[in-house]
């Protein structure tokens, strides 16, 4: 029973983790992408459509990531190349993504697919207690955990990651050193979009293997909150995603168990947790410096 609950928590946390890690990289480079929800839902629709047409979950996942990346490219052209306002452009991407996904997915509403296959290792998967949890997940879950490690390693152990963080901290200074501010930011945005699209594809290919309009149901926004909650650190994204996923699952169980609390109150828990985390982060602030990338959301226009 406990294992089953944990398995559902991990499943609920996976799309949040993937989308939040992508957004974390974009924000570390200094770009606030509020279009995550749109990229996610477009990824869900495209991923499902391609998977139905080709019969391949892998191609569907790739198409979902590609759709998120394409929308992110548009966002990148607007904000990084043309220096448009990031908040307005991001909101536009969310609305555009919701609309496009309805169009892409229109003829697939009501269809069902087999969910993405789960790992099945003889002996290991049937281990009592942890077998299903550790050795019986689908590929997305393992990918999400690999992404946590990969993003951490990239940001803190590679030169490119250092440059990305530096650009997110001060684009004027890094530009003066001859670093390619716009190129790095554009790539970070593309990565973020691809992750959002992949997270969406997970929803329509593995989590609930069908397409329904607006099926992301605000998970893109939760992913954005999660980045802040995690204070822009990948390992804390992992912890936060489990917490948020846990709250979602517990809410379902609580409702099923007929707990007196209204479901909405429980649904609000992750957001309350975010607010609480922000308050605590501000209270326990260090002597200086900032947790958020200092150039986050600021538009960079190079001097002639």
């Amino acid at each position: 029973m406990i294992q089953m609950v944990l398995v559902t928590i991990v499943a609920a946390a996976t799309p949040l983790m993937i989308a939040a890690l992508g957004e974390l990289v974009a924000e570390r480079a200094g770009v606030l992408n509020l279009g995550v929800e749109g990229m996610m839902v477009l990824g869900a629709a495209t991923g499902f459509a391609v998977a139905v047409e080709t019969g391949s979950t892998l191609l569907g996942a790739a198409a979902g990531a590609g759709a998120g990346l394409a929308l992110a490219a548009l966002f990148g052209i607007l904000t990084v190349v043309l220096s448009a306002n990031q908040v307005a452009s991001g909101l536009a991407m969310t609305i555009l993504g919701l609309g496009l996904s309805g169009l892409v997915g229109a003829s697939y509403v009501g269809l069902k697919r087999e969910p993405a296959p789960h790992l099945n290792l003889a002996g290991l998967t049937d281990l009592p207690g942890i077998g299903r949890l550790v050795f019986g997940q689908d590929g997305f879950v393992y990918l999400a955990f690999a992404l946590v490690a990969g993003v951490w390693w990239f940001l803190w152990r590679t030169r490119a990651g250092l440059i990305l963080r530096a650009i997110g901290d001060d684009h004027t200074a890094t530009h003066a050193l001859g670093l390619k501010v716009r190129r790095v930011r554009f790539r970070a945005v593309l990565f973020g979009g691809a992750c959002a699209g992949l997270a969406g594809a997970y929803l329509s290919l593995a989590y609930t293997p069908f397409w329904a309009p607006a099926m992301t149901a605000g998970r893109g926004w939760i992913a954005l909150a999660l980045v802040v909650f995690a204070s822009w650190r990948p390992l804390r994204v992992l912890a936060g995603a489990m917490l948020f996923g846990g709250a979602t699952v517990l809410q379902l169980h609580a409702q099923a168990a007929g707990l007196g609390l209204p479901g909405q109150a429980l649904s609000a828990l992750p957001y309350l947790a975010t607010i609480l985390a922000l308050v605590l982060l501000s209270l326990g602030k260090r002597q200086g410096g900032s947790l958020a990338p200092a150039a986050l959301g600021r538009v960079f226009t190079p001097h002639r």
């Binding site: 530096a166 890094t174 050193l177 410096g289 200092a294 002639r304």
Partner: protein, 532 residues
């Protein structure tokens, strides 16, 4: 005008770096207009010029941040193309930026790693930082985040970052503008040592005394052209300044002894907690300024200047009304407008964003600070014509050069906007005027104009308080000088009875009685942890 053809060096050995016929156009504007410059190994070469003379454009071209429209850069006689800073660094050109190009939330080592070649692991890098630091006496902890460091320490990062690449040419842009006199001495020692190692240094500074002390050759720019070259050791500061601005800089006339009037501005044990993480608390600040005198407050940025100014202007309220008295009115709890109505005027430090709203017109900016002291509105409705004529009066009285009749404040050059802001307050004939950094980043002519205006205002009986980092300025105009360090104000002493050494020690936080030797001290005076 035909472009100057690249020409070979006139005489002597091939220079290490040469720039010939450099033209850089921005639209119709020629920031550089046919500049020739030769830099030899083992020399400290000064580049002098006012704001807008084309110094930073030339520097950026040499560091690969800008490409020249015309002209060539040579390295040991060969024409080279500096298309980006990486190419410049590969040729051995390093740069120490004036506004440090450091990322505050990264550590010292990370900031340095940003420009180091690929594949250098962090342990090797830390070892090399320590090694260079030990060689040149530039000590740094590689693991500290930059935000926790003082301006002097930040400059050390820039210098070490530069030295780790074993540069042949080091470009330094206004390197002493944020340093204490003690820290500047330490820097000069490093620079002389680099010169003796056979490196070339291109030294850009407004401070002519430093240039005369360090540099053996100087190239003087004006309006994007080379207007002279000299050996600064054989010139005086005045003759260098005259070459820079093209006319004799009018010497500021000290006031004919004005009999000190009544106390007009009095601070009594003013104490204020630090306004934020980066702020400085004021501790028992006491001061009195009489009508007819200028009192100067020296100190390095971040020692409470902004906080003191805010407490005087009313942007921050004092805990007790009696802590701030303006013309005998207890003003500690009064707001800015009330203080202005009582005859005080204030010019804060930052021109764009604090003293003026850059996107608003000059007349709108006149309204912002003068609405209480000039008839600029009737029943709450603005009188545009009155505001415009006030702005006109200021611009003509203070020789403000502007494009168009009523342009946005942000379109004026720094010097012109500063003159406008000073004039806006001074035309109100304030009985008390408080200014913070009146000539920061302002060219020599405008600075002289502003200083003269302050002297004249005091001559008419006003009490003038000048907060400035520029000791030359304070010695030029102030009758008495006090030093603000870590939120504590030293007693104001007559300028004639003190010296820059004494003030320098106070600025660094040392009591002047403790030691008389400044230059011989190996460690620069400990600077405060605040750098903003």
């Amino acid at each position: 005008m035909p472009p100057l053809a690249p020409r070979p060096p006139a005489e002597g050995p091939t220079p290490l770096f040469g720039a010939y016929g450099i033209v850089k156009r921005f639209g119709d504007f020629r920031a550089n207009d046919g500049i020739d410059l030769e830099i030899r190994a083992g020399e400290i070469h000064a580049l002098l010029g006012e704001n807008g003379a084309g110094k930073s454009t030339l520097m950026k071209i040499l560091y690969g941040l800008l490409e020249p429209t015309e002209g060539v850069v040579t390295h040991r006689g060969d024409i080279v193309r500096l298309s980006n800073p990486e190419a410049a660094r590969a040729l051995g050109i390093g740069m120490v930026f004036q506004h440090f190009s450091l990322c505050e939330n990264l550590t010292v080592a990370e900031n340095i790693a940003l420009v180091m070649p690929r594949g250098l692991n962090r342990r090797t890098l830390s070892a090399r930082i320590a090694e260079v630091g030990a060689t040149y006496g530039l000590h740094l902890d590689p693991g500290r985040p930059v935000w926790s460091l003082s301006a002097g320490e930040r400059q050390r990062i820039e210098i070490i970052r530069c030295l780790l690449q074993d540069p042949r040419l080091v470009i330094l842009d206004e390197p002493t503008s944020v340093l204490t006199p003690g820290e500047a001495e330490g820097l000069f020692t490093v620079l002389e040592r680099l010169r003796d190692e056979g490196r070339a240094l291109l030294y850009i500074s407004h401070r002519l005394d430093e240039v005369r002390r360090l540099c053996s050759r100087a190239t003087i720019l004006r309006g994007g052209r080379v207007v002279g070259a000299c050996d600064p050791r054989e010139e005086t500061a005045r003759s260098l300044a005259a070459m820079m601005v093209g006319v004799q800089v009018g010497e500021v006339k000290p006031p004919a002894e004005v009999p000190a009037g009544p106390e007009r501005l009095v601070l009594r044990d003013l104490a204020l907690p630090a306004p934020g993480l980066h702020g400085t608390a004021l501790r028992d600040v006491s001061l009195s300024v009489r009508g007819g005198e200028i009192v100067g407050i020296a100190g390095i940025a971040g020692n409470g200047q902004a906080e003191l100014f805010d407490a005087l202007s009313g942007e921050a309220l004092a805990p007790e009304p009696g802590m701030v008295r303006l013309d005998r009115v207890e003003s500690g709890r009064l707001g800015i407008t009330a203080r202005r109505r009582n005859g005080a005027g204030f010019v804060p430090e930052e021109r764009n964003g604090h003293a003026a709203a850059p996107t608003l017109s000059l007349s709108d900016n006149a309204i912002l600070s003068r609405h209480a002291t000039a008839a600029l509105s009737r029943f709450g409705v603005l009188r545009r014509a009155a505001a415009k004529s006030l702005a006109e009066a200021v611009t003509s009285a203070f020789d403000v050069r502007k494009a168009g009749p009523d342009p946005a404040a942000g379109t004026l050059s720094g010097g012109n906007l500063q003159k406008y802001l000073m004039g806006r307050e001074i035309l109100a004939e304030p009985g008390i005027l408080v200014v913070n950094q009146p000539t920061w980043g302002v060219d020599a002519l405008a600075a002289a104009h502003i200083r003269q205006a302050l002297l004249d205002l005091a001559g008419r009986g006003a009490a003038v308080l000048v907060i400035s980092q520029d000791l030359d300025e304070l010695f030029e105009i102030a009758g008495r000088i006090a030093v603000l360090h870590a939120g504590h104000l030293s007693p104001a002493v007559p300028a004639a009875e003190t010296s820059r050494e004494t003030l320098g020690l106070l600025m660094g936080g040392a009591a002047p009685a403790q030691s008389a030797t400044v230059a011989g001290t190996p460690e620069p005076a400990r600077e405060p942890a605040h750098a903003h």
